[in-house]
């Protein structure tokens, strides 16, 4: 207000402004219009830069007009700052049409623009004496070195050329954005683009005033006419803003009424897609248990990270993440709209999240059941192969040796004896292999003597020293004992094969309705439970019992395999 008042006073007393009344009125309409509309937008949307840029444009405009002053210093400062508002207005325009931060091209245009209207004007004004440059009533230029018309002409031509190029770049950017915009974006942003056109007309008009070199009243009138479209800019922006608010309010209201009708699977997504006018919208649900996102069918889903075309808005309920809305990054609405729509749908999303979690669980169980079946088949195939390559071959070779021995019994008793001895060795090996195979199918010691003794025999057979910690004295359910036994057996096999450990510890605790099995070693670590079929097989075996497998295996820090099995 004060700055506006000062401007009016300066203009009305100015010796070098001829059409004082109209100029003063235009100065106030434009300056206050920008500042007022800017403050309104700033207050409503403090996170958005448009309001602050509008206010800045208003101030820059009013500051530039102190060039009307008869005081040489104020006049000079005003003249030097007289074009800054053009760039802040362009800044606002580019920010508004982009929607989410400035593009690299925008930044280049704006950097060049800000440089042009500040330091870019200096060379011209260092050599321009207003009195000799055609303005008789103007006060002195305080930064004048010496009037030099040639320098002024050249500098002015350069400034105009750069300025026109920048305007052309802005125009191209706006046209591209308009063409790329979706129909709802166009509908919403039409006033902003209209204000862009108005701004361009105003700026080109200003350039016309400067280059035409008109003097006195004619120049002032041209200035006033060219400023009229500029005066419209803040109001066009406000119109766009109000339209967006109304569209948002309407969309959220409609969404609420659609969601109140107990939506079924997939309908929440469709309702959100309609509310945000984004048919490509995807809805993901957060599973805190698995610390991952799934879609409505429970399938695992990664959030897009490097895709500039997709944006992610997370929806919280009672401080906990419920879902993520993955949407077109160029949604026509202001950024808070997706949050508002998400918040309105939070309850429905929470319900759908529970459904998705259930589907994910069913999917997991189905997967683990299929893997169990496959593991079963693979185990049987392996057993057949082991029997064929091991015990069966030994028995075949034994049968041949015995037949040969019988043939040689009379003519070469010594050879016959050797053949029988060799058959005996084969028989021992075959028996040991059969025992090993039988243990792999089901360890008899577990059934007969319980988990504690079975684990002691595993520890005794392991090639690495094994320290047994706490073991349960009482018998546990058969399935739990078997799972615990195989966890220890597999873990100790891995210790012996891969860990390069010097010792391992085994303990099994029963606590709070579950059994905790832990096998730790001091080896090289780096085991990957996803890759190893053995550990994966264990995880599946445990999943059937609702148990879980954890593997801690940092490089160089040893490996700890921990299984938790629910046990009434």
């Amino acid at each position: 207000m004060i700055l506006g008042g000062i401007d009016v006073a300066l203009i009305l007393t100015s010796n070098h402004v001829d059409v004082r009344g109209a100029t003063a009125a235009v100065a106030l309409v434009v300056g206050w219009g920008f500042i007022g509309a800017g403050l309104f937008a700033w207050d409503r949307r403090p996170d958005n830069s448009i309001g602050s840029l509008m206010v800045a444009t208003g101030f820059a405009w009013l500051l530039g007009l102190i060039s009307a002053s008869n005081v040489p210093v104020l006049f000079t400062v005003g003249v030097l700052l007289s074009s800054v508002y053009i760039i802040t207005a362009i800044h606002m325009l580019l920010a508004a049409t982009r929607g989410r931060g400035l593009s690299r091209g925008d930044r280049r245009i704006l950097t060049a623009g800000y440089l042009l209207v500040t330091v870019g004007l200096l060379p011209m004004y260092l050599f321009l004496d207003p009195a000799k440059g055609g303005c008789d009533g103007c006060p002195d230029n305080v930064i004048l070195i010496q009037h030099n018309q040639t320098v002024v002409d050249v500098a002015s031509a350069v400034v105009n050329l750069v300025g026109i190029s920048l305007l052309a770049a802005v125009l191209i950017t706006l046209v591209r954005r308009w063409r790329r915009a979706t129909p709802p974006q166009r509908r919403l942003y039409a006033p902003v683009y209209a204000s862009g056109v108005a701004l361009m007309i105003a700026v080109i008009g200003q350039l016309g005033v400067q280059t035409a070199g008109s003097e006195g009243s004619a120049a002032d009138i041209l200035f006033i006419i060219s400023v009229i479209p500029l005066a419209l800019v803040p109001y066009l922006f406000l119109a766009s803003f109000v339209r967006a608010r109304m569209a948002q309010g309407g969309a959220v209201g409609e969404l609420m009424s659609r969601l109140s009708a107990a939506p079924r699977g997939g309908q929440v997504r469709d309702a959100l897609a309609d509310a945000l006018e984004d048919p490509s919208l995807e809805l993901l649900f957060w599973l805190p248990e698995g610390e991952r996102y799934v879609d409505a069918s429970g399938q695992h889903y990664e959030l897009p990270e490097d895709d500039p075309g997709r944006a992610v808005t997370k929806v919280d309920r009672d401080g906990e993440c419920v879902a993520a809305i993955v949407h077109d990054a160029r949604l026509p609405h202001m950024s808070g709209h997706v949050d508002a729509v998400g918040a309105a749908a939070a309850l429905a999303l929470e319900n759908e999240r529970l459904d998705a979690a259930l589907r994910a669980k069913i999917g997991e169980l189905r997967g683990s059941r299929e893997r169990m079946l496959r593991i079963g088949l693979e185990e049987r195939r392996r057993l057949e192969r082991d029997l064929h390559d091991g015990a069966q071959q030994r028995l075949v070779s034994m049968a041949l040796n015995i037949r040969l021995a019988r043939a040689k019994l009379n003519e070469d008793p010594l050879a016959a004896e050797q053949l029988l001895a060799s058959a005996g060795t084969e028989l021992d090996s075959a028996l040991e292999e059969l025992r090993e195979l039988a243990r792999g199918i089901h360890p008899a010691v577990l059934t007969d003597r319980g988990l504690g003794t079975a684990l002691e025999t595993l520890a005794n057979r392991a090639p690495v020293p094994v320290e047994l910690g706490e073991l349960p004295d009482e018998r546990l359910p058969e399935a739990v004992e078997l799972a615990a036994y195989f966890v220890v057996a597999e873990a100790l096999t891995n210790v012996a094969k891969y860990s390069k450990a010097s010792y391992a510890t085994v303990q099994v605790e029963r606590d709070n309705g579950r059994v905790l099995v832990e096998v730790a070693d001091d080896g090289i670590g780096g085991a990957d439970p996803v890759r190893g079929t053995g550990l994966r097989g264990l995880a599946d075996r445990l999943a059937v019992l609702e148990g879980r497998l954890e593997v801690e295996s940092e490089q160089g820090r040893g490996t700890t395999v921990r299984a938790r099995i629910p046990c009434g």
């Binding site: 064929h388 390559d389 069966q392 071959q393 030994r394 028995l395 075949v396 070779s397 049968a399 041949l400 040796n401 037949r403 040969l404 043939a407 040689k408 053949l419 084969e426």
Partner: protein
């Protein structure tokens, strides 16, 4: 005339026993091979009268080896063997270019001679 034999099997213990058994009954075992590829090479080099061929080999299936050996029509006599039962192998004897099959545990010179 003594018949020359090539034994093809991936189990060394069987090859050793079979060699002793066949040699004791008058066959001349002139070579052994542990897989299909080396069997094809050995047949070309040694030109045996008989190939005692295990059905399951680590690389090429025994049936495939037999087919390739009989492609030019003048190959050696091929006798298949396995520790599995003939019925488990699913062999169709009429179509396969072999003289016959002897279960491994029943191998003897007489059994082999009977098929030649």
């Amino acid at each position: 005339m003594t018949r020359t034999v090539l034994i093809v099997d991936d189990h060394p213990s069987f090859r050793a026993s079979a060699r002793m058994l066949l040699e004791a009954e008058g066959f001349d075992v002139i070579g052994e091979a542990e897989d299909g590829t080396s069997a094809l090479r050995a047949v070309e080099e040694l030109q045996p009268d008989v190939v005692l061929l295990d059905v399951q080999l680590p690389d090429i299936d025994g049936i495939e080896v037999a087919t390739r050996l009989s492609e030019n029509g003048s190959g050696p006599a091929i006798v298949l063997t396995s520790s599995r039962d003939l019925a488990d192998l699913g062999l169709v004897r009429e179509r396969s270019p072999v003289r016959g099959f002897i279960p491994k545990a029943e191998l003897s010179g007489a059994a082999l001679e009977a098929l030649l």
